[in-house]
């Protein structure tokens, strides 16, 4: 009986294929397209509601947030472009009741393409380097750039941050480029008021950077960086990606140079300058079922090792707090070893439904942070539900965070 069914299936297969093709061509006949034109500006608005379970006696905290973002990119003369992007986050908190606004001026600069292979930029630029997912040691301009954290997803923190004021030039050649930038010191004073451009956060010291890229083969495209900062030794960076096979990409991101430890910088102790390195390296594998898995190892040679971290945890709460605050501000892990896992499943279970999971595991104190997002999108609206769980011993990296668990629901509208 089964054999008969298979034979029937084989006999009718060409006819069914012809029917499928005819149906598809029929759909195409009825398709009406309206060629969309590129716009100079894009905006979004996002409303979010979150509830956090705090560590202190299981207390809960509710927060509402409304965010508004705008991006503008206009070619106003041959070779000239004006670029502007900004985001405003307004939060309302209950018990104690409060409201605060934080504006983040991400980009505001002009760009001049002098020749096809020579480009100059001037203004506030959110410039980013690095190929890793969870930690970017060569993203040198990340320091103090985040004013408003709306999610623990590393991608969100890279997105919602201040640019630095700089002059930047780039020369391109076939398969390579050289970028040079200079970022001056403007002021040493941080300004946390709602609508301040906060130049003290991003231009508190004079810095320059050189970045050179050269594609060696289709598989290998390294980038070398040199960072100079007033009163600081040079830092050298490497970004490397390689295509291992059709489904796997490997990356290596390394920054090294003489520098003081995170602890001495955080507590303003006498500098213990030595050669130190920071690294993030991982692989991303994508299955045929639209699931991408990333495993990344992260090392911060300027942070505390196990003994130092244990000692800090047992010591003064003030010193511990200052260290954690400083590490968060410069976006460095507070301990030396960390593992990051990321899973992204596009069109999971059904079309337009994406699942993302991030897991950070501190390999020094074994604390963990899990973040999971389920997101569904229509043409102009996204809705998402996020869940975060911080787990670990008291004064561990994640166990010491005030929130044990966070639920956040959000809706974003794209104009």
């Amino acid at each position: 009986m089964r054999a008969l069914f298979l034979i029937a299936l084989l006999i009718t297969a060409p006819a069914r294929a012809a029917d499928d093709d005819a149906a598809a061509l029929g759909l195409a006949d009825k398709t009406v397209t309206q060629a969309e034109q590129a716009r100079d500006w894009h905006m979004f608005s996002e409303a979010a509601w979150s509830v956090s379970t705090l560590r202190t006696a299981g207390a809960a905290q509710q927060l509402e947030r409304l965010s508004f973002g705008v991006a503008y990119d206009k070619a106003f003369a041959p070779g000239w472009r004006a670029i502007f992007s900004d985001r405003l986050d307004t939060r309302w908190q209950q018990e104690p009741s409060s409201q605060d606004n934080i504006n983040t001026l991400q980009d505001a600069y002009v760009s001049w393409q002098v020749q096809p292979d020579r480009i100059g930029d001037l203004g506030r630029i959110n410039t980013r380097y690095g190929v890793a997912y969870g930690y970017n040691p060569t993203d040198y301009f990340r320091t103090s750039a985040v004013r408003s954290t709306v999610s623990s997803d590393p991608a969100s923190q890279r997105e919602n941050r201040l640019g630095s004021v700089m002059a930047r030039g780039q020369i391109l050649w076939a398969d390579g480029s050289l970028t040079a930038l200079y970022s001056p010191r403007l002021t040493g004073h941080r300004n946390t008021s709602a609508f301040s451009p906060d130049f003290g956060a991003t231009n508190g010291s004079e810095r320059w950077l050189l970045a050179a890229s050269q594609r060696i083969s289709h598989q290998l495209a390294p980038q070398l960086l040199v960072l100079g900062a007033a009163g600081e030794p040079l830092q050298f960076g490497v970004n490397l990606t390689a295509l291992l096979n059709d489904a796997t990409v490997a990356n290596l991101e390394l920054s090294a140079g003489r520098s003081a430890s995170l602890l001495t910088r955080a507590l303003s102790l006498p500098a213990d300058t030595a050669l130190r390195s920071r690294l993030a390296s991982g692989i991303t594998y994508t299955t045929s079922s639209k699931l991408s898995l990333t495993l990344e190892y992260e090392y911060n040679g300027t942070a505390l090792d196990r003994d130092g971290w244990d000692a800090l945890g047992r010591g003064s709460l003030v010193a511990y707090g200052r260290y954690r605050g400083y590490a968060a501000d410069v976006q460095d892990p507070p301990t030396q070893h960390r593992v990051f896992l990321r899973a992204f499943w596009q069109d999971a279970w059904f079309n337009h439904f994406d699942l993302t999971a991030n897991v950070f595991v501190d390999a020094v104190d074994r604390s963990r942070q899990c973040w999971v997002e389920a997101r569904y999108h229509w043409t102009q609206i996204d809705v998402a539900l996020q869940w975060q769980h911080n787990d670990g011993a008291l004064r561990s990296q994640y166990g010491s965070l005030p929130e044990r668990r966070i639920w956040q629901a959000l809706a974003r509208y794209f104009f």
Binding site: D20, D21, A22, A23, A24, L25, L27, A28, T31, T33, A35, E36, A38, R39, H42, A71, D73, A75, S111, Q113, P116, D117, I119, N126, T127, R128, V131, A155, R158, Q170, L172, W173, A174, D175, S177, T179, S213, R215, H218, A221, L243, N245, D246, A247, V249, N251, T284, T286, T287, K290, S292, Q346, N351, H352, H377, T379, Q380, D382, F414, F415
Partner: protein
């Protein structure tokens, strides 16, 4: 090997030259049918030349996706493409125009070297070919690709087949076998019109002989000097209810600097 060499020569030749060569071939075929019959590789090269302009160009691609007969997605992309002078394969800079969620995101495709740039996070992410296959962009693979470079063609039959306009058309049926390990599709069946070398239909297969896609090339219009297909209808091999209609518009010759076709230029790419 000779067929390959001929294919390369035909591909890089200006279109007028190809047209002239085709006329000469046709004239010879009338005089000496057996000796001057076009080789399978030459037919494929001539078909490539119809799909792929021979100079750097730009166009707008509108993709409309259907599942189970219902429209589920619409995307608009601005594409700049240029052939590699060495390999002959196309390198493309792609900017997402719509929907608003994806607007201004960018992609660079140069063989298997794939980079994605998100202007919001400023992140340049290298993609594996498998990641590329996930999205609609995968369908771009069957647009600007020089098949004669990556596949060895064999003439299987000359037969009547129904084209994208549902007209019966006399076609060469070619079997294409991969010669380059980097190609997305292991082998391809392709129907090319006998009269004018227009690509009519293609079926793309995996190494395990699984049908991945069926593509119809249709709505031929005069674009950039010759009649070219301005629409592709792509039917998913696994689920024939998943259909993508790709429409091309705004064809134009573009000056695309060789220096632009790299990761570091991606954030700066802004189509006219």
């Amino acid at each position: 090997m000779c067929e390959q060499a001929l294919g390369v020569a035909r591909r890089v030749a200006p279109l007028l030259h190809i047209t002239f060569a085709a006329l000469v071939a046709l004239a010879c075929a009338v005089a000496e049918p057996a000796a001057a019959a076009p080789t399978a590789q030459a037919i494929l090269s001539a078909s490539d030349a119809i799909r792929n302009p021979d100079k750097p160009f730009g166009l707008t691609v509108t993709l409309v996706e259907y599942r189970d007969g219902k429209q589920t997605d619409t995307n608009t992309l601005a594409v700049y493409s240029k052939a590699d002078p060495n390999s002959g394969q196309f390198r493309s800079l792609i900017r997402f125009v719509a929907p608003a969620r994806d607007a201004n995101k960018l992609m660079l495709k140069s063989g298997n070297d794939l980079w994605f740039f998100d202007p919001a996070s400023k992140a340049s992410i290298r993609l594996s070919p498998q990641q590329r296959l996930l999205g609609q962009a995968a369908n771009g693979d069957v647009v600007t690709v020089n098949l004669a470079r990556d596949y060895q063609a064999q003439l299987v039959a000359e037969e009547d087949t129904q084209d994208g306009e549902r007209q019966s058309r006399r076609c060469y049926k070619l079997a294409l076998a991969e010669v380059s390990p980097d190609v997305t599709y292991h082998h391809i069946e392709m129907w090319i019109a006998v009269a004018d070398n227009r690509p009519v239909k293609a079926r793309f297969y995996s190494e395990s002989d699984r049908l991945l896609k069926t593509a119809y090339y249709r709505r031929y219009q005069a674009q950039l000097g010759i009649e070219r297909p301005t629409e592709m209808v792509i039917i998913d091999g696994l689920n024939p209810q998943w259909v993508t209609v790709m429409r091309y518009s705004d064809f134009a010759w573009r000056d695309i600097s060789e220096q632009w076709l790299q990761r570091d230029y991606l954030p700066r790419f802004r189509p006219e």
